[in-house]
């Protein structure tokens, strides 16, 4: 009465595969990553390599330990997780931040749940939040951009010292991120306009020539990668669009009400990890909803939370928290916002028989 081993149709396939999806995302991240590595020099390169390598090593160890085929390593998901984590870390962070973060992301965030596809939370963001809460000092020490080959940039050996020996940053070498700076200055009673007029340059922020984590500096290159992914239909447009729109809209409204307290939308768009989050992190398929309406809600929720936490919360950067919180809501969104099935109304009841009219297309020729 059963049929072990008898294959059912369909027998054709469009040749897509998980590892192609993951590699596409990595490729889309490459321009922004390369630019970030160039900006922050050898310590950043060390950090990036270390994070990706330890993510892959953790994945391999877990697969072995769980008795799963090591070939799963090739699906590229661990590499992507490590890569995203590296992009969200301060570029000159010490080695144990990189390794600890990767182990946490892959080990607890992903493999504990059964590996790829099973994790409810985005592993990279989980690791980032855990690191931020456990090691606030290291996670908020931002190096100023010192491009490879420029005068003050650390050489290869100095880079190793910074990453592995914890050589302290010289005073002139560290700075605050735009968001952090604004937050500090606001608490000192300065007005947002004055602060931004003094220190913030939109162009520099867009190009990426500012302090920040490795991947959040060059907005333009991130946009380029994201647009390519959208064009290849690797990611859906709903989440980035609704997330960015939500932030822009809230920022614009608040700016209208009190420009002295709240900076405008473009400032939010160009600073911090918003674009990286909207294009590459919130769009992680495993932890985001599957229906179009669900994705719109998910994106809008992320956007609202990013704005609220950035503006009123105690952390200057909020993408990771917002994404995690909406990840937690994803099962509920998936349950209540489903696509409308053919022949049924939005609530899943069959359409009425016989009294269906369609104003656009009546029977017969128009």
């Amino acid at each position: 009465m059963s049929s072990i081993g008898i294959a059912s149709g369909p027998f054709a396939h469009d040749r897509s595969s998980v590892n192609r999806i993951m590699l596409h995302v990595c490729l889309a991240l490459a321009p922004a990553t390369l630019f970030g590595l160039y900006l922050f020099g050898w310590p950043a390169i060390n950090l990036w390599l270390l994070t990706c390598a330890s993510a892959l090593a953790t994945e391999a160890a877990c697969l072995r330990w769980l008795g799963q085929p090591l070939a799963r390593l090739q699906d590229g998901s661990a590499l992507l997780t490590g890569w995203l984590l590296a992009l969200s870390l301060p570029p000159w962070a010490p080695w144990w931040i990189a390794v600890g973060g990767s182990v946490f992301a892959i080990g607890i965030g992903k493999q504990l749940y059964g590996g790829i596809g099973q994790n409810p939370f985005n592993p990279a963001m989980l690791a980032r939040v855990a690191l931020l809460i456990a090691f606030p000092l290291q996670m908020t020490t931002w190096a100023l951009p010192q491009p490879l080959g420029s005068a003050g940039a650390p050489g290869f050996v100095e880079g190793l010292a910074i990453t592995f020996a914890g050589a302290p940053l010289a005073d002139g070498m560290s700075g605050a991120t735009a968001l952090g700076h604004l937050k500090t200055e606001l608490t000192l009673g300065h007005s947002a306009e004055a602060i931004l007029a003094g220190d913030f340059s939109l162009l520099a922020a867009l190009l990426g020539n500012s302090a920040g984590s490795l991947g959040e500096t060059s907005e333009l290159l991130l946009l380029l990668g994201g647009a390519w992914l959208l064009a290849r239909r690797i990611i859906h447009w709903e989440i980035p669009l609704s997330m960015l729109l939500a932030v822009l809209l809230l920022a614009a409204i608040a700016h209208q009400i009190n420009p002295g307290r709240y900076p405008g939308g473009l400032y939010h768009l160009a600073s911090g990890g918003l674009l990286l989050g909207a294009l590459f992190i919130a769009t992680d398929p495993v932890t985001s909803p599957v229906s179009r309406s669900g994705r719109l809600i998910f994106g809008a929720g992320c956007g609202v939370l990013v704005y609220v936490i950035r503006t009123w919360g105690s952390f200057p950067e909020a993408v990771a928290f917002a994404v995690l919180f909406m990840n937690a809501l994803t099962p509920l969104i998936d349950r209540y916002w489903r696509p409308r099935a053919y022949g049924r109304n939005a609530r899943g009841k069959p359409l009425p028989v016989g009294r269906q009219t369609n104003p656009l297309n009546q029977e017969g020729k128009p």
Binding site: M1, S2, S3, I4, I6, S8
Partner: protein, 174 residues
């Protein structure tokens, strides 16, 4: 101290009498609707394969937790699943064995009609002196006919799959 004792006593008195009143106002009759529901689900052939004297006693044993939800072979997996849901237990479908059906060996059958009379569901057809045969749709595999047969020609066998009973298997787990 006195005040504390008094206050608590008064509170207890007030709340207690309030609850008493409420209990009367919101009284719910206490007979178990579950039993009836389960009795309704059972096949009712009183075949006794569950080890209880009939479907009624089996139902009460189920309600009391004395019998497993998989105890009824004629009801099959479908009944077991329903019972499991009603009784709030988890069902291990692997516990259910494939249903058995009676088959009469035509070569040995003498047409004595004993099996015919013993069958609780009239699943055996044939007149006296003729070879009997079993109706697949009505047989519960209760083995009464096997016990009744003097020639020992009734066997209980699993069904061979046909195109109608063949099912797709679950794909191997990923």
């Amino acid at each position: 101290m006195l005040m504390a004792t008094l206050a608590l006593a008064v509170m207890g008195l007030l709340l207690g009498s309030g609850l008493g009143l409420a209990a009367r106002k919101f009284a719910v009759s206490d007979d178990n609707p579950l039993l009836k529901e389960i009795e309704g689900l059972m096949p009712g052939s009183q075949c006794g394969q569950c080890g209880f004297p009939g479907c009624g006693p089996a139902a009460s044993a189920l309600v009391e937790g004395q019998a497993a939800v998989t105890c009824c072979p004629p009801g099959g997996v479908a009944l077991a699943e329903k019972l499991a849901e009603l009784l709030g237990v988890t069902l291990d479908a692997g516990q259910m064995s494939a249903p058995l059906l009676a088959r009469i060996d035509a070569a040995q059958c003498t047409g004595c009609t004993r099996c015919y009379r013993a069958c609780p569901t009239d699943a055996i057809v044939g007149a006296s002196g003729q070879i009997h045969s079993v109706l697949r749709d009505a047989c519960t595999g209760c083995a009464r006919c096997q016990e009744a047969c003097p020639e020992d020609c009734v066997a209980l066998v699993t069904q061979a799959p046909t195109l109608d009973t063949w099912r797709w298997s679950k794909p191997q787990a990923v």
